[in-house]
């Protein structure tokens, strides 16, 4: 019987069924990796592993198995920002310092532009542009007011798009 929300799988994993756990791990790893990659960049694998460990250690606390991806997303973004901040090797530029289009310093790839943003701003971009969440939901996830999300997003996305379209 089809189980589009993976409810049966999540329930079995919550009961400690290792085969269900490894199958759920196979489903969640690419999703968590897509969220952690753009936020934690070179620390993406560490962030992905930390997020998945937190997800699987706390799986029993998930009361709505159908919401597993949304629940995992909140943990992944939080862990990615935390890992990126603690591993930050250089202080990222303020958003205002991100080079404008035409600046010879400006690299053309997405990775380079993301590199110039703080992890919190990368998280806003990922949740809004990659996950398609509205500003209020993004604010709830990152524990900041929706207005802050909006202003961060406007500036981050402008820098991002200019670089991308160049």
């Amino acid at each position: 019987m089809p189980d589009p929300d993976h409810v049966g799988l999540v329930r079995a994993a919550q009961r400690g069924d290792a085969l269900a756990m490894q199958e759920l791990l196979g489903l969640l790893t690419p999703y968590v990796g897509r969220l952690c990659g753009p936020i934690a960049l070179s620390d993406g694998p560490d962030a992905t592993q930390e997020a998945l460990i937190s997800i699987f250690r706390n799986l029993r606390q998930l009361s709505e198995p159908a919401a597993v991806f949304g629940w995992a997303r909140a943990i992944a973004v939080r862990e990615a920002v935390r890992v990126a901040r603690s591993a930050r090797r250089t202080v990222p530029a303020e958003l205002a310092d991100v080079p404008a289009a035409g600046d010879p310093q400006l690299a053309t790839d997405v990775r380079d532009v993301l590199d110039r943003l703080a992890p919190e701003h990368r998280a806003v971009l990922v949740l809004r542009d990659l996950e398609g969440l509205d500003e209020r939901t993004v604010g709830d996830l990152l524990r900041v007011p929706a207005g802050t999300v909006k202003s961060r997003l406007f500036r981050a996305r402008r820098s991002f798009r200019k670089a991308w379209e160049r």
Binding site: L19, M21, T29, P30, G33, L114, L130
Partner: protein, 156 residues
């Protein structure tokens, strides 16, 4: 544009570490073997022949059903206890589970060598309480399994 966002991946050994973290009381050990992945995994994946050599508690192992990467295997323990295992086996990844025991192996190429992980756990009530003690046992148990795995890889 989404295709160009950086994506993070986890190799099978790190994934096995996640699985171990989610299984209370699991033994988890990682080491690097000085042999290429194909040679190491050829030993690990040969469950019937090699698992009784690697895991001391198993006397024999017999695959009774195979459907792609999903297998069913019957194991007989040293004390004669029989266990039926559901198994998922693919290159670099193996998880097996009976009503009493969980086992796992994972491997990934690491330069010219292979990073390899063993996982083992008992499925019983209260195992969560013994978690710190069991995790301390991982090192000596793992050392023995890795020694035997190295011997088997060398003999191939």
């Amino acid at each position: 544009m989404n295709a160009d966002w950086p994506v993070a991946d986890l190799d099978p050994v790190r994934r096995m570490g996640v699985l171990a973290a989610g299984i209370p009381g699991s033994l988890f050990a990682v080491d690097v073997l000085d042999a290429p992945f194909d040679r190491v995994w050829a030993v690990a994946a040969d469950l019937e022949r090699e698992l009784p050599k690697l895991v001391r508690d198993i006397r024999s192992m017999r695959i009774v059903r195979a459907d792609g990467e999903v297998l069913v295997a019957d194991a007989v323990g040293r004390l004669g206890l029989r266990d039926r295992f559901d198994v998922v086996l693919r290159p670099g990844w193996c998880v097996m589970q009976s009503t009493r025991v969980i086992g796992g192996m994972a491997a990934v190429a690491d330069g010219a060598g292979t990073r390899f992980a063993f996982l083992g756990a008992l499925r019983m009530p209260g195992v969560r309480l013994a978690d710190p003690l069991l995790r301390r046992l991982a090192r000596p148990v793992g050392r023995g399994m890795f020694r035997r795995l190295r011997d088997e890889v060398q003999q191939r």
